[in-house]
Amino acid sequence: ANWFPYMVGSTEPAFSNAPPKNVSYTPLPKASKKWNVCVSFPHMKDAYWLGVDYGVTEEAKRAGVKLQLVEAGGYTNLGKQISQIEDCVAAGANAVIIGGISADGLNNLIKSVSAKKIPVIDLVNGINSPDISAKSLVSFYTMGYSTGEYLAKKHPKGTPAVKVGWFPGPAGAGWVEAAHKGFMEATKNSALKVLDPKYGDTGKEAQSKLVEDVLQANPDIKYIAGTAVTAEAAQGIVKSRNLAGKVQLLSFYITPGVYDGIKQGQIMASPADSMVIQGRIAVDQAVRLLEGKPVLKHVGPKIFVVDQKNIGKIVKDTILPPDSFSPVFNVN
């Protein structure tokens, strides 16, 4: 089944923070020639970026373009990401799609790349460069925000205060800070009392430790919100401390693990940003730019919160990769 037409929010004028208008997005049926597209990820170590990988590679196959994917191995390797993108260009990429490690750190590079008439597309993470040709993303700010919003609705100002443990992810990573800002913004004027953020690598043992300690320090905690890894790790801990039902878990982005968690009622909710679609759209934007076709420069899938109520209704493989999928780095 085709993924399109797909309801997306399109920002007009592009790259402004005007509220996005709802439009239905339909990609080109096929690319006119076998363009050589290069995709750069911060890393390929978790289910989220695996999902994006699924999106870009599937779309490349569908549109019939060549695609090479590189990953920098982690959010502390900006230098490596720069080198990799340079290598892509050296290897003759026609367009570059970047899931940036840093919002500003790639600006110079992007300037020099776009100077070569190579369109640069900003995927998922958000980059501030003026030389970006198109953006396909739901900013992590929005993700954090909608997570916070979801909770704030449940506990409006005036209702009894509740404590929320907050685990945004590895300190210093761009997406973490963005999500943090959004979440705080959304929970600002509500009954929610958000404990100060516990940063930590998105490895399960690291997050488990943090969750255990926070539960230890604040027995009266009601919600645990954070990365997908946090939510997944917390399930076992909550069960073992038989706090099931007393403490609710939320993730600010969705992964297969979180999806199952919600299905089984162990995780309360998570906003879905359909990273698969973001990937698909980015590739289509690249093709359109290369072929000079009209292009929506700044779009992101409509974001919606998945919880027990609506999880039955949504189509899994638009927001998540199939379980069988394993990473693909090349499409020829």
Binding site: M44, A47, K204, E212, A217, E232, Q235, K239, P327
Partner: protein
């Protein structure tokens, strides 16, 4: 070689101040117990949640993994080497064992068998990694640093290739219930296993010829050979056991997380070495005491746990932890000086 530098005792008046007797006593038992004591007091006063039984158990359970890995690391350090691949071993064991388990349970084996075979598979993969390291170091005389770093990279690539970074789910729930959250003789299962492991390592190092020979190889490889020790075998043993202990930690972690993860153990290599060094293990080989290494590991975990509970901001935590490591070692240096 810096240790061996001719050092004229740099006078440190402030150390001697304070009650003499206490000071003497401190010199005896070493700095780690004292630091642990201080940490307990400080964090206890910072949060009333800290000095609770539950948190104590919690703390022990958290320490288990680092302790096990550090014990392995100690063996390698004593042999005069290095093991940067422990993190990978954790990852590989977790991935391999859980993939095996989920496969077998789909085949409808009984949980006992699934778990047993799964763990076996994990241990075997760890054994492979360990013997790779051992062979490189003993046979081909590759610098342990490069050898284990190379293997680390290879192994991680392999683990990611197997999983694509996606957690491997579908483990029999019994696995988690027993080895993750279960109790044995009133102790949390992981703690129990860790204690057993520590005792065995202690026996090996203090009460067997092999242990002594390992010390010897680290102390002076050439002399060891001439005194009829096959240093090759000793090195092999060190690296295999190290991988083995890391594998056990990996299995326990898997039981705890309930899924196979390629992304566990990112920082464990450096942390375990740190635990050993503040436990008084020499990076030049030949020197190291099991008990102190255990204390070292506990110290690191305790500080992290304490700071989390005392609600200290993450950035500050990095600073404090780094500072404490250094101070601990400095104090130990001074102790050495005043001991004589």
């Amino acid at each position: 070689m810096n240790e061996s530098t001719v050092n004229k005792p740099t006078a440190m008046p402030w150390v001697i101040s304070g009650p003499k007797t206490l000071f003497r006593w401190g010199l005896k038992i070493g700095v780690l117990p004292i630091f642990l004591g201080l940490a307990l007091i400080v964090f206890g006063s910072l949060s009333d949640q800290f000095l609770t039984v539950q948190n104590f158990i919690n703390l022990l359970r958290q320490s288990v993994y680092l302790i096990l890995v550090s014990l392995g690391q100690m063996l390698v350090l004593i042999s005069g080497g290095f093991d940067l691949s422990v993190g990978t071993v954790l990852a590989i064991t977790s991935v391999v064992s859980s993939m095996t388990m989920s496969y077998l349970s789909h085949q409808g084996f009984s949980p006992e068998w699934v778990i047993a075979l799964g763990c076996l598979a994990g241990l075997v993969s760890a054994f492979v990694v360990g013997s790779l390291n051992g062979m490189g170091v003993s046979l081909f005389k590759v610098s342990p640093f490069i050898m284990t770093m190379g293997v680390q990279s290879i192994g991680f690539g392999f683990a990611l290739y197997l999983t694509g970074g996606v957690p491997v789910s579908g483990l029999p729930s019994e696995f988690g219930d027993v080895f993750g959250f279960g109790d044995i003789f009133g102790m949390p299962a992981p703690v129990f296993i860790c204690v057993v492991g520590a005792v065995l390592v202690w026996l090996l190092m203090e009460r067997t010829a092999a242990g002594r020979h390992l010390h010897a190889v680290g102390g002076n490889a050439r002399a060891a050979e001439l005194s009829g020790i096959r240093s090759g075998r000793m090195l092999m043993m060190a690296y295999v056991l190290c991988a083995g202990l890391a594998a056990i930690a990996g299995l326990l972690l898997t039981a705890r997380t309930g899924s196979g993860e390629a992304n566990i153990g990112g920082t464990v290599a450096l942390e375990s070495i740190a635990a050993c060094v503040i436990g008084g293990v020499s990076l030049r080989g030949g020197i190291g005491k099991t008990i102190n290494v255990v204390l070292g590991a506990i110290f690191i975990v305790l500080v992290q746990n304490g700071m989390n509970i005392a609600n200290i901001g993450s950035y500050l935590q990095m600073v404090v932890l780094g500072g404490l490591l250094i101070i601990a070692v400095i104090t130990d240096q001074l102790r050495q000086k005043y001991l004589v």
